[in-house]
Subunit: 245 residues, 2 copies
């Protein structure tokens, strides 16, 4: 699936172009289009800021007009920081990313348009696009160009991302223990606690044991950690006997 | 609901601290904690980079050790760029934000910990936290400190954000037309098209009319746009008669 092109209209500072390139590369975008960049192109400051993402700058293309830069695209969204009082549809970055993915899956060429650092996009520029993206913010709204590219590019990747929301890394030593191994830990721990007099008075024995087991379960131990805990119990008990001798 | 504290461990460049502050302010976070900032604090470059978010820098607190900086918090996540081979739980920024919101709703104090620009967090630092956040990226992974703060802060706001995914701005002139107003537009357009000979041959009349109505509906016109379109029809028809005279 082809990721959206990023079109920067009349960008000023090379640093900001470089920050945009770096944001793009992190999230799998690599087609950067520059409309009349103020300080010319290529730009050394842009490469310095892009760090390892200079390959995005290297293949960037420069256009004299916005119409040329958008010409081959099928679906283009414009980013703005404020409501414009027009009747264009306004999308969250998340919704925009979903629609861009669907369009790309149909084989359409897509793009996201960003205005320059000083003034953003004007209404003429916005009128060439399908809809508007606004990043939701707190009352304080002052995202710069690189930050806005970052949020939209991040949402593009996230819309197609299969990373599980939460996971535990499982190496060879990190497999889940079997029930039998858990029961072995419980037996060992409860036997030593009983011998030490911790599980007292007898009337509370069952309640205490259940509470300890709940604590242990909540930790979602790996096999390796079960072994380590048993080693700790052995060590603590040994030490106690040594002190008492 | 109290937003998470942002804790920067041994940050180096003031520019990056300022970028973090600006990212925070945009998404409603304002408690910045600095552990042993290399170039001291306050830092002029940080304020320059924060632009309007300098208020975050002004109330930032400096700590000598990470333990002190985290001391009063109940839930802390650490951000890392790579798997660490530990058995800590690894969360996406989205999942982390949801859990932080739930904890904050219970009255817990939360925080997100970031390592320094050069080396990130070490395993000792990570061991003081509840779980790890990894930002999903493409194969190219090189988010800087400010960018990582931006993504996690953005997800915090998004997790509690009620912005509709897609909306049309509705001013007083932007109300939806009534059916009657839409039918008026159809009648007007179809009458003029019929008179001009466009709806030809008669066998295709109904099909053509239905196709035109579908096009018009898909545009989701406002009342104002319906009026404008009728004006355009009047103007086009008038012009034609004038030319023919």
């Amino acid at each position: 699936m082809t990721a959206p092109s990023i079109i920067l209209s009349r960008p000023q500072l090379g640093e900001n172009i470089g920050a945009a390139a770096r944001a793009m590369a992190n999230f799998g975008l690599d087609d950067l289009r520059l409309v009349a960049p103020r300080d010319g192109w290529p730009n050394e400051k842009a490469n310095h800021m892009a760090v390892g993402a200079a390959f995005v700058n290297e293949k960037a293309r420069v256009y004299q007009t916005l119409e040329e830069a958008l010409g081959d695209l099928n679906l283009v969204y414009a980013t703005t920081a404020r409501d414009r009082g027009t009747t264009k549809e306004v999308l969250t970055p998340e919704e925009a990313a979903k629609r861009l993915r669907k369009a790309a899956a149909r084989g359409e060429k897509t793009g996201i348009l960003f205005g320059n650092e000083r003034a953003g996009l004007d209404n003429d520029e916005i009128s060439l696009t399908d809809a508007v993206i606004m990043v939701p913010t707190s009352e304080f709204t002052s995202l710069n160009l690189g930050q806005t590219v970052l949020v939209t590019a991040y949402e593009w990747l996230r819309a197609g991302d299969c990373t599980p929301p939460a996971r535990i890394e499982h190496g060879p030593y990190h497999r889940k223990p079997t029930r039998e191994e858990m029961f072995g830990l419980f037996d060992h721990l409860e036997r030593e606690l009983a011998e030490s007099g911790f599980l007292y008075p007898p009337a509370k024995y069952d309640t205490m044991v259940r509470a300890i087991r709940a604590t242990v379960h909540r930790a979602k131990l790996t096999y390796q950690e079960v072994q380590t805990l048993r080693g700790m119990i052995v060590a603590l008990v040994k030490n106690k006997h040594r002190v008492r001798k």
